[in-house]
């Protein structure tokens, strides 16, 4: 690249050919384009640099001063632009007089950088800075929720000083401050990185937090009389690099090392935001965001996080069958036999199959296959849309995770008037419900279906349709299954099991080996409590079993294999495979699926 196109570190585009520049970090050369920031460039390449205030989604204030490095530029001849060289032919470097914060350094061609790996000065500076950060930090790690995944704790172990020379009273600041309904502040733990205030200023734009006081007394706070209640408030807990901001709901509930976290998505709405389910002893204790640049970046709305009790509470304890008007617990085989008996007693074309936007693509697909094999019309689903509830960001009007997946399978929203008319005309002889609650949704009243068989896959014992159901089949929820959901934006994403259920399912166990390598709460964990495992099955196990009990040909297949079949038979899923979805999903439109 001709040197004259570079001036003051700015590359002037003389041609359309992308120009590659070079930077030397710790004696190793890297190529780059454009003008990236040094810290992010290093982090992307596994060159770790300690930092606190820097966050890739926020502006760069360079206030923690932890990521200091030595930066130098080769000396160039003013007229020719030639790099001056010493006797050995090496470029002569002019080092900046002060250390620079790598987060704010714009990279330039020929730049030379020394990190703590090659510079004692940098190593010392990082140590000095951590000594400063810790003098007024309470060091109450043993009772702090952040301990175990605390950037301050981790980086102190790696880069900090041996002890402290500080022999004075630490600064006292307010503790246990309720900033809002979901977030609590411990002012003394705060290291003033301003990530939280920058989040509310730049990302959520609620402007609810600011730094108050001055100097060493600084801490984040709302305006007098204001409450930190924005719908995204809990994100500041995730980005807080210390335990200053904690979740009112979660604080002191579990230590980080007692839980396992499984990658998954939230099912509170149709956005498909990526998350991690944190599980201890097969109870979901919290939900935190998982970075996905295409969908939710680093964020998760508070309502998605608040949804975790639904995975623990009101869960059923095995299948039930109505015998003489009473629901009685039975074994799974007996339940399947009863389903086949009920479905065999009616005209197949008169069975109403209700798919579910809560259920996975695979489950809905299998339901469609069952419907076809008994000669029933294609399933329809009950939409759960609250107009106006969405915010155009991570909260959608649609309160289900997979309506788009249903649509792509050819499962469309139900026409309530039509269902009503057919019920009136006695044209519906049985109802088969996949993971939904038609009575509570108002599709029909309990009395409307009192006299016909109702088969129900359900997550909860609070499902109102149970009152008229003849067979109740407990279904696995998103945290217990493997499957695919398609977001409103057309991203197909797969999930992994986060908690174990009763019974043996080889697929689930293998998948859990990937999502929960720590084995907490599994049968291999001697501390686990068997009563926290729900006696349910994924619908992709129930539906083939039902088909087989009706004498139909149906093989057990793993969800991955089912998705392969879907991709081969349905154009709207062409090319979809678990491999292509990976951990961050894939946009179906981009892999050639027809819409």
């Amino acid at each position: 690249m001709p040197a004259k196109h570079i001036r003051d570190g700015v590359i002037y585009a003389a041609t359309h050919v992308p120009t590659m520049s070079k930077i030397t970090i710790d004696n190793k050369e890297y190529a780059f384009q454009g003008q990236p920031k040094l810290l992010q460039f290093c982090l992307d390449r596994g060159v770790e640099l300690p930092h606190f205030c820097y966050h890739p989604a926020l502006s760069i204030p360079a206030n923690c001063r932890q990521c200091l490095v030595e930066v130098g530029m080769p000396i160039r001849d003013r007229e020719t632009g030639e790099i001056a060289r010493n006797d050995n032919g090496e470029p002569v470097i002019r080092w900046m007089p002060k250390l620079d914060t790598s987060c704010s350094v714009d990279m330039a061609d020929g730049m030379v950088v020394r990190t703590h790996r090659t510079s004692e000065q940098v190593e010392r500076a990082q140590q000095d800075n951590l000594e400063f950060l810790l003098i007024n930090h309470p060091l109450d790690c043993p009772i702090c929720d952040q301990a175990g995944h605390c950037p301050l704790q981790n980086q102190t172990y790696k880069y900090g000083p041996e002890g402290s020379r500080f022999e004075f009273l630490k600064v006292r600041k307010p503790k246990k401050v309720v900033l809002g309904p979901r977030v609590m502040l411990d002012g003394e733990r705060c290291i003033n990185c301003t990530r939280c205030t920058r989040f509310t200023d730049e990302v959520s734009k609620s402007h609810q937090l600011t730094i108050i006081e001055r100097g060493v007394k600084n801490y984040p706070m709302t305006a007098p009389g204001e409450v930190f209640d924005e719908p995204y408030s809990m994100n500041v807990i995730d980005i807080c690099p210390v335990g200053a901001l904690t979740s009112i709901d979660f604080r002191f509930r579990a230590r980080i090392w007692e839980m396992s976290s499984a990658p998954s998505i939230t099912v509170t709405n149709a956005k498909g935001a990526n998350c991690a389910y944190w599980v201890r002893d097969n109870l979901v204790l919290r939900i935190t965001p998982r970075a996905n640049p295409h969908i939710n970046e680093y964020w998760l709305p508070d309502e998605d996080r608040a949804a975790y009790p639904r995975f623990n509470e009101h869960r059923p304890g095995g299948p039930r069958v109505r015998i003489a008007g009473e629901l009685k617990s039975v074994g799974w085989e007996a339940a399947y036999a009863r389903v086949s008996e009920l479905l065999g007693s009616v005209e197949g074309s008169n069975v109403l199959f209700l798919g579910s936007p809560y259920a996975t693509v695979e489950d809905n697909y299998l339901l469609g296959k069952l419907a076809a094999s008994v000669g029933a019309p294609a399933p329809v689903y009950i939409p759960h849309v609250e107009p106006g509830a969405g915010d155009g960001w991570l909260i959608t009007d649609d309160k289900t995770p997979n309506a788009e997946g249903c649509r792509r399978l050819g499962i469309h929203p139900v026409d309530p008037a039509l269902v009503h008319a057919r019920l009136e005309a006695d044209e519906i002889a049985a109802v088969y419900v996949l993971e939904d609650d038609p009575v509570a949704s108002g599709l029909f009243r309990a009395v409307d279906v009192q006299d016909i068989p109702v088969i129900l896959h359900t997550y909860h014992t609070t499902n109102e349709t149970i009152a008229v159901a003849d067979v109740v089949l407990p279904a696995a929820m998103v945290v217990e299954t493997v499957g695919t959901y398609v977001s409103a934006d057309g991203y197909a994403q797969r999930v992994w099991p986060a908690k174990a259920i009763v019974g043996v399912n080889r697929t689930l166990r293998m998948e859990m080996g990937v999502s929960r390598p720590d084995s907490h709460g599994t049968p291999f964990d001697r501390w686990h409590n068997a009563s926290n495992r729900v006696n349910c099955k994924p619908s992709w196990e129930i539906l083939p079993a039902v088909a087989r009990s009706m004498g139909l040909q149906s093989d057990d297949a793993s969800p991955g294999a089912i998705m392969q079949e879907i991709a081969h038979t349905i154009g709207a899923f062409e090319g979809a495979a678990y491999e292509s979805m990976g951990a961050h999903g894939v946009r179906l439109a981009e892999i050639g699926a027809t819409v």
Partner: protein, 442 residues
């Protein structure tokens, strides 16, 4: 005014300062009033700049300021004309600003207040000339909140200027328009830092910004902005009226012009004195300020506000008040607010008070300054209370290293310098206190 004649003894760079005629604070009664100021030739320079389009084209004003050798009077001493020339070319539709810094809060500095009280129109005229030179749309005159009386006073005079057509739309009937807005500070020292001042004017928490970008590139609301001290801009009407050569001829060549010396501490006549730059420190103390109070011996001086390094009495022989000479002596010109300390001064107590100030005023943005200033105050207080150890002195010097040059703005440096220099230059006093302490053996 006659040119300064060679000095009587020929040794001082300030020339014949005894016959110096004051130009920033001329002895005119009620000069703060608009009519009096105009009667004494006020706004002549502005009129010249606005009407003599050939002689005083905007670029030529900047050239004249460059030629005059004027250096900023706010503490850093940056050449003013050069700073003005950093403003990018005019881009129609992009407003340009001046932020005039009247937030003087450095301990020992009180010269801007004198100008605001006695010659406010010189400030306004200077602002307008600078505004013309750089094609400025609006000037924010930032005055520290504690100067409530002077703010009221300045606002009163500014209102008159608007009424008389000297500020605002079509100034003096020409096609030049420029506004002046007085912005009141809320009592934070950090707002005197130029980028912090910009944040404060924008209504934000006054955390200093990272540089680059510099204010000339991205200043107020991201627009080109020049930040100048009040006294600096007050010099520009003088340069226009009397010429750059006249200005350059006052005081030493590399740091010329009239300057307001704020004399405080243990002197007989503390106050603000206008003299040329390059005054002998001994002259300022002995002759101008009437000598050390009570005929005592001099112990130390701080030549330019609390943050510049302290000088022992034996270090000031022949040292003059200009950048070069003070650098050689191991200090800085700063704001020319000189603190004088007599032989009875306890230097540990002096440092204790200074460190308390920086602890109180650190904005808290950067870790080293936020944490270091408090720790330093703790250590110095402990030594002063008779509970310190010799090791504390080493820690103090270490902390200076850990703070200096590692923060966004220069407050950490300003907090570290007095600590380092006071300990180094008066180490025996600190050691004596440590030895008398209850932990002397530690």
């Amino acid at each position: 005014m006659k040119m300064p004649s060679p000095s009587r003894n020929g040794s001082t760079k300030a020339g014949d300062w005894r016959s110096y005629e004051r130009v920033l604070l001329p002895p005119v009664r009620d000069l703060h009033r608009f009519d009096v100021y105009v009667k004494h030739g006020g706004y002549k320079a502005l009129r010249a700049v606005l009407t003599h389009n050939r002689k005083w084209a905007p670029g030529k004003v900047t050239e004249a300021v460059k030629a005059s050798g004027l250096r900023g009077r706010g503490g850093a001493g940056f050449p003013t004309g050069l700073k003005w020339s950093f403003m990018p070319p005019i881009d129609p539709g992009t407003p340009r600003y001046i932020a005039c810094n009247g937030d003087e809060s450095e301990p020992g500095t009180f010269k801007d207040r004198q100008l605001m009280e006695y010659n406010p129109h010189l400030i306004f005229e200077g602002i307008l000339i600078a505004a013309r030179a750089m094609q400025i749309d609006a000037t924010y005159l930032y005055i520290r909140g504690e100067y409530a009386d002077w703010i009221r006073h300045m606002e009163h005079e500014l209102a008159k200027l608007y009424m008389e057509g000297y500020v605002g739309k079509r100034i003096l009937g020409t096609d030049f328009s420029s506004d002046i807005i007085i912005h009141k500070g809320a009592g934070a020292y950090i707002c005197g830092e130029e980028t912090s001042l910009l944040e404060s004017v924008e209504g934000k928490r006054a955390y200093p910004r990272i540089k680059p970008p510099f204010p000339a590139q991205k200043g107020l609301w991201g627009r080109p902005t020049t930040v100048n001290n009040v006294e600096t801009l007050a010099c520009t009407p003088l340069i226009v009226n009397r010429g750059a050569e006249w200005f350059a001829g006052i005081g030493p060549e590399k740091h010329p012009g009239p300057v307001l010396y704020g004399m405080s501490g243990h002197v007989e006549r503390p106050g603000v004195y206008e003299y040329p730059t390059g005054m002998l420190i001994t002259d300022l103390i002995e002759e101008v300020a009437g000598g050390v109070r009570g005929g005592k011996k001099l112990k130390a001086i701080v030549p330019g506000g609390a943050s510049v390094p302290v000088l022992r009495a034996d270090m000031i022989d022949g040292v003059t008040m200009d950048t070069e000479s003070l650098r050689e002596a191991g200090s800085m010109m700063g704001t020319a607010g000189m603190l004088v300390m007599d032989e009875d001064t306890d230097m540990v107590k002096f440092l204790r008070r200074v460190t308390r100030f920086y602890h109180h005023e650190s904005c808290g943005q950067c870790t080293p300054c936020r944490e270091g200033t408090g720790w330093i105050e703790n250590l110095v207080t402990r030594i002063d209370e008779g509970e310190g150890t010799l090791r504390d002195l080493d820690i103090l010097l270490d902390l200076c290293d850990q703070m200096e040059g590692r923060t966004v703005c220069a407050l950490a440096d300003a907090a570290a310098w007095p600590v380092r220099n006071t300990i180094q230059r008066f180490r025996e006093e600190f050691e004596a206190k440590c030895r008398q302490s209850i932990y002397a053996m530690a």
